[in-house]
Amino acid sequence: MSEIQTIELAERAAEGPAAEPKGGRFLFSSWHLVLIPIAVVMVIPLVWMVITSLQTLDQTRHYPPSLVPTSMQVRNYTDVLQQAPFARWFVNTLVVTLACVAGNLLFCSLAGYAFARIRFFGRELAFILILATLMVPFQVVIIPTFLIVRSLHLIDTLGALILPNLAGAFGIFMLRQFFRTLPVELEEAARIDGASRLGILFKIVLPLSGPALATLAVITFMWTWNDFLWPLITIYNPNNMTIQLGLATFQGAHQTNTNLRMAAHVMSMLPVLLLFFFAQRYFIRGIATTGLKG
């Protein structure tokens, strides 16, 4: 019967996420006594940032600082947009992020599927090596990566940000684990039906892997969007900067204008924040299923 259950699991996965159980959703539990204060601590900096971004310069210098919104100086946002090429940075980041998300979805699927289902010489070893790279801190590989990117003449282009991040060990690992839970009979049925390996991957496996793909997409999006160190090393021209890097240079130039800096931060955070609101399920799944920090 376990096969049947797996099939049903896959069916449920294909049907989309199950509806949240109704009722009991807002029930109070003693855990809330712990969770609510933690949530408040987490939220205060965010709120403070938004409030500051709407204050006048004088108000930001007031001591003690006020957490109560006293003004609505929306002009700060338009000022920021005029003083720095924010739109450009935003577009750059979006291009890099979407390219990395697409690349990860495609290449990690291919690799993950090969590791999950295709028997080939050295598969286990290769997989272990890929997994092992998860334990290597980024700082260790900065220089070799830089040298490779430089030899490809990609320094100071968006390509330098995209190419090294088109696939990752994390995505390969996560998708392999997920693919292995799909009933193998589905793929055998497709083989008999005449589908090729790639056909099976794209027509059977990936359509059933929605949740895993969504998780990978969301996590890659966040990683890429928030990446700072690598752009700092490879990008010099302000026109090619991503929003995080641009923000840092903007911060340096506007040491004193806290309200403008905060307005810039709010704008840079907005996409990730929105993503989190709408896709937090997938963040949690990604962290829960792989045991890795998101």
Partner: protein
């Protein structure tokens, strides 16, 4: 349509265990062949080898006269129905049926025609827009059959297709499968562990155990003349009674029963008789003393469990759960099937009449049947 041949096919998953050991088999064009045996006997492996999902370690497989050892499943032109149906969960019934045809670049109108045809045969017309999760077990089973039908393949391979249905539905689908086969006449290899399915569906059945063929024959033939102890114990429900007998002076002694015997003296044999060949003894004929234990009235017949003096012989086909029933001290458990009019009461002492030419004899050492 085509015949399927397996010649000296062996499949090993590891060095020392052969899942399939030197299997030679010929399935005639249009034949309905059953592979039956307990789990782990190699029947599913044999099916997967024909499908091309596994490669044989040695031997040749031919479909329609062409050796297909190195041919991919796609190009073997066979269709398979899986035990768990393996319907594509994200596709509607219509797309499930059409998938194989699309992958083969069948023209659209042709796909449409074949899907309509198959759905008419199987009564799927109202379900074409649904997804597998919205179907009942029986409906899924039909869709799985439909997916095989639309392909109009050279051969059907069915891997325990009815085992996930409830008993009533299973009987219905069994008849339906037979009807479909009679109508289309496509070569079919059907794997099951259920000997009722084997008996009712097959033109011929292949009884397998431990990767080896035990017997191949028409269902009645296998039932009437099992070639060895395993087949004797496996085919038939309730299973054949098997008791240890001694041969001496031209007769076989079994408890207080004497049966004529023309073989060599002192040979040890297993004496087998089917439950339905046992009757409350009339006067005269050979008979066996019997104490009734449990009576199971089924309406059209009564299954009577009890014991007789003697030692039971294990055929090797017993399910584990049955083993405790065998032999209590010097007494052996046996089963008889009576007409309802003869229903005894638990605790009754009676004599069971045996028709001598319905008795099966097996050599206890070779485990093969002894002709008489």
């Amino acid at each position: 349509m085509a015949e399927v041949r397996l010649e000296h096919v062996t499949k090993r998953f590891s060095e020392d265990v052969a899942a399939l050991d030197d299997l030679t088999l010929e399935v005639a064009d249009g034949e309905f062949l059953i592979l039956v045996g307990p789990s782990g006997c190699g029947k599913t492996t044999a099916l997967r080898l024909v499908a091309g999902l596994e490669k044989p370690t040695s031997g040749a497989i031919a479909i329609g006269g062409r050796i297909v050892n190195d041919v991919t499943p796609r190009d073997r032109d066979i269709a398979m129905v899986f035990q768990n149906y393996a319907l594509y969960p994200h596709m509607t019934v219509h797309r499930n049926l059409a998938f194989g045809l699309k992958e083969r670049r069948t023209p659209k109108p042709e796909i449409e025609r074949r899907v309509r045809e198959a759905s008419a045969i199987l009564g799927l017309d109202d379900l074409l827009g649904r997804r597998p999760a919205q179907l009942s077990g029986g409906q899924r089973q039909r869709v799985a059959m439909g997916r095989a039908l639309v392909r109009e393949p050279k051969a059907f391979l069915l891997d325990e297709p009815l085992s996930n249905l409830d008993a009533k539905l299973r009987v219905q689908m069994r008849a339906e499968l037979k009807r479909i086969h009679q109508r289309l006449g496509i070569t079919t290899i059907y794997v099951t562990h259920d000997q009722v399915e084997a008996m009712t569906l097959g033109d011929r059945i292949v009884v397998m155990s431990n990767g080896r063929v035990q017997q191949i024959g028409k269902p009645q033939e296998v039932y009437r003349r099992p070639q060895n102890l395993f087949v004797a114990g496996f085919i038939g429900s309730p299973p054949m009674n098997l008791l240890r007998g001694r041969c001496a002076d031209g007769s076989i002694r079994l408890g207080d029963l004497d049966l004529p015997w023309s073989g060599p003296d002192a040979a040890e044999v297993a004496v087998g008789f089917r439950p339905e060949d046992l009757r409350p003894a009339g006067d005269g004929g050979p008979s066996l003393e019997f104490v009734v234990d449990v009576v199971e009235p089924l309406g059209n017949e009564v299954v009577v469990h009890g014991t007789t003096a003697g030692t039971a012989v294990e055929s090797g086909a017993e399910e584990e759960a049955e083993i405790p029933l065998v032999a209590e001290g010097a007494r052996a458990a046996i089963t008889a099937v009576f007409a309802p009019a003869d229903e005894p009461a638990p605790g009754d002492h009676m004599r069971l009449g045996i028709v001598p030419d319905r008795v099966h004899l097996f050599d206890l050492h070779t485990r093969e049947a002894i002709g008489r």
